[in-house]
């Protein structure tokens, strides 16, 4: 035994075996304790509870759910809510970040001050505080009777934001899809010497065609766009954005935008000045340098940091529980409360987030590899 400890190799094997045994014992001990406790509480383990009906509703959902829906369906609704607010939030944060980041590298002093003030204000305050704040703002709005009129097309009240929504039938959608396909084909055909101009022309032509087709093939009794209308104490028609969703989205877009803005700024600053000067010296105009050299190189420098930020923002959607937005976490924790199926639901919760985040991370890595300049790492 003592001789075995002397050689490096066998010592390594012993250490690893001991570690494995310790971890195994720890996990086994926790599982056994949990089992014992669950049996004492009279809870059967397994995933059978997924088919039972929940008995509780959620207030925001993309698919139809009620208190009679099964646990499986309720969990799906929660997962879709997480993806909904997450993906919309990522898109919004990217947009805000691009604007703010470019303001800060624009060279214009006033724009720089505005951009810096935005970043320093919203990056240094916790996201959850911002989400709670926006929720308070939205729920302190006047009731539907005194709703704020947004130029006649939408309303803002303490029930949420009412917006017009396209009300398209299956045929309408088909026509639009056909027009889009035609646009792509036409743009490819016409794109020759001046690809940008040809593409713009083709797009304009086909957009006109699409509008024409749409009106020809459309059922005249149905309006193309459904407008929200006030009826007594509530609204009918249009699209209703619930305050819970709007507050969480606003928080993620602004907080994420401040962080993405910093990434964008760093990306633009990371481009070597010599490369830009070389492009100028080759006779490219300022705008051409920007479009053909500065932006492509900056985007490549941003991608890895952006991927991390996206994963972080996706995880931050769980904060919606603080204002009652029924995301995946909130549905799972309510389900744990109601059924006591702790272990199974916790596994589903962690599994769901790991799948979302690894998919997102994998997609960003793929994009990064696709865009990488050949011959550089």
């Amino acid at each position: 035994m003592l001789r075995m400890l002397r050689t490096r190799r066998s010592r390594g094997i012993i250490i690893q075996a001991a570690l494995l045994a310790a971890v195994g014992a720890l996990v086994a001990g926790m599982v056994l304790t949990a089992r014992e406790n669950l049996i004492a509480q009279g809870i059967a383990t397994g995933f059978g509870f997924l088919d039972r009906s929940t008995g509780w509703p959620i207030n925001v959902a993309l698919i139809e759910v009620s208190d009679r829906s099964s646990y499986a369906r309720m969990l799906l609704a929660g997962l879709l809510n997480t993806l909904h607010v997450g993906i919309t939030g990522l898109a919004g944060a990217t947009l805000v970040g691009l604007v703010v980041g470019m303001m800060r590298v624009s060279g214009n002093l006033v724009l720089e001050i505005l951009g810096t003030a935005f970043v320093e204000t919203f990056r240094n305050v916790p996201l959850i505080l911002q989400v709670i704040f926006w929720y308070a703002v939205l729920t302190h709005l006047p009731p539907p009777r005194g709703a704020i009129d947004l130029l006649g097309v939408g309303f803002l009240s303490n029930r949420g934001l009412m917006l017009p929504m396209p009300d398209w039938s299956g045929t309408d959608l088909l026509l639009i899809a056909a027009a889009l396909v035609a646009a792509v084909i036409a743009a490819r055909r016409l794109g020759g010497e001046r690809p940008l101009r040809a593409a713009a022309l083709a797009l304009a032509a086909v957009a006109a065609l699409a509008v024409l087709l749409l009106f020809l093939g459309h059922d005249p009794a149905r309006p193309l766009i459904s407008l929200p209308q006030r009826q007594g104490l509530r609204f009918v028609g249009g699209l209703t954005v619930k305050p819970e969703f709007a507050a969480l989205l606003t928080g993620i877009v602004i907080f994420g935008g401040a962080y993405v803005g910093e990434i964008v700024r760093a990306g633009f600053l990371s481009v070597d000045r010599g490369v830009l000067q070389a492009a100028r010296a080759l006779g490219l105009s300022g705008w051409q340098v920007y479009r053909l050299v500065h932006i492509p190189l900056a985007v490549r420098a941003m991608l890895p940091a952006l991927a991390n930020q996206y994963v972080w923002l996706m995880k931050a959607t769980t904060l919606g529980v603080a204002i009652g937005y029924p995301d995946y976490f909130m549905v799972v924790s309510t389900a744990i409360n109601q059924t006591g199926q702790t272990i199974e639901l916790l596994l589903l919760l962690m599994g769901g987030f790991l799948v979302i985040n690894y998919t997102l991370g994998g997609a960003m890595n793929w994009l990064n590899a696709r865009l990488a300049i050949r011959g550089r790492n």
Binding site: I15, N108, V125, H140, T318
Partner: protein, 362 residues
Amino acid sequence: MARAPAPALPPPPAASGLAWLRRRLFATWFDAIVTVLAGAALVWLLAALIDWAFLDAVWSAEMRERCRETAGACWAVIEARGRLILFGLYPHEAHWRSTLACLIVVATMVLSCLPAFWGMARLAGLWLAGFGGFVLMMHGGLFGLPVVTTEQWGGLSLTVFIFAAVVVLGMPMAVVLALARRARLPVVAGLAALIIDTVRGLPLLTILFAAAVVAPLALPDWAQGDKLGRVIVAFAVFYAAYQAEIIRAGLQSIPPGQEEAALALGMPWRSVVFDILLPQAFRNTLPATINQVVITFKETSIVTIIGFFEVTASASAAIGRGEWGAYYVEVYVFVALIYFVFVFGLSRYGAWLERRMRLIRG
């Protein structure tokens, strides 16, 4: 065909302050338009902010009737509800203890930021004393101080305590995880990688929720401890997973020749790690570390959701639905300022540290 070189241009004129301003504001006509429009927006924003926060504001609770008439901020709500925001549910007559405890932790944080305290033994001693003082003040039970259980802890001192405990506990964990992930033993490295990658893939809230609500189910009674303790340990693991990757990046940035040379000279492994590798790893990754610490401070607000009364939760409680309900903006702005002061201070300290390190390196 040889061409004669173009005549040399005259040197650019020396930059004056006015020329600089002109270049930054009115470089082209397009810039000029943008400057005028954005400048007008900036001035309008500033004016509105100053009007709201200072000129039209109501400052004292005695004049709270005026809050309903003015368009400005009603800071009177801070005077009326400030104690609730800063102390949460902590017993009213013992607020001085919470204040003192908060000051102890902040002082410990400031002291450990000073280079004079950098050293394993000194830092460990400092933090043991700091946490000891904090718990003695907050919890009581000695020297005739009545006991206040952790369920009643709250407000700013809870925020600061959670933050300090998470970083102080998490940092050694991060070092262990980073070293383990680089170990030559595959089981050790694999286990560390599994822990780090899993924790980083999960939202902090799910981990804290598991620690607060689910852990009692899987742990025997003697190992459960206090809910606050469990949450802090889980938070520290989360922090450590991120910090470990930062340290690992720092370790990778050191040329392998240094480690080989030190081992070849016969230095013991512990000395190689603690005297050669880790100091450089920390220095190389200082900006990332400060960034992670700042994020951790902001994320302490998440414990609100699992039922702790730190400063974000007590702000919501302070607003309530009663007479001060209409002045939620003032309360949230006040709490945001508290966070801002801490976070801004931390990031300034980080910038100072970075400059200092660069000077040493030369």
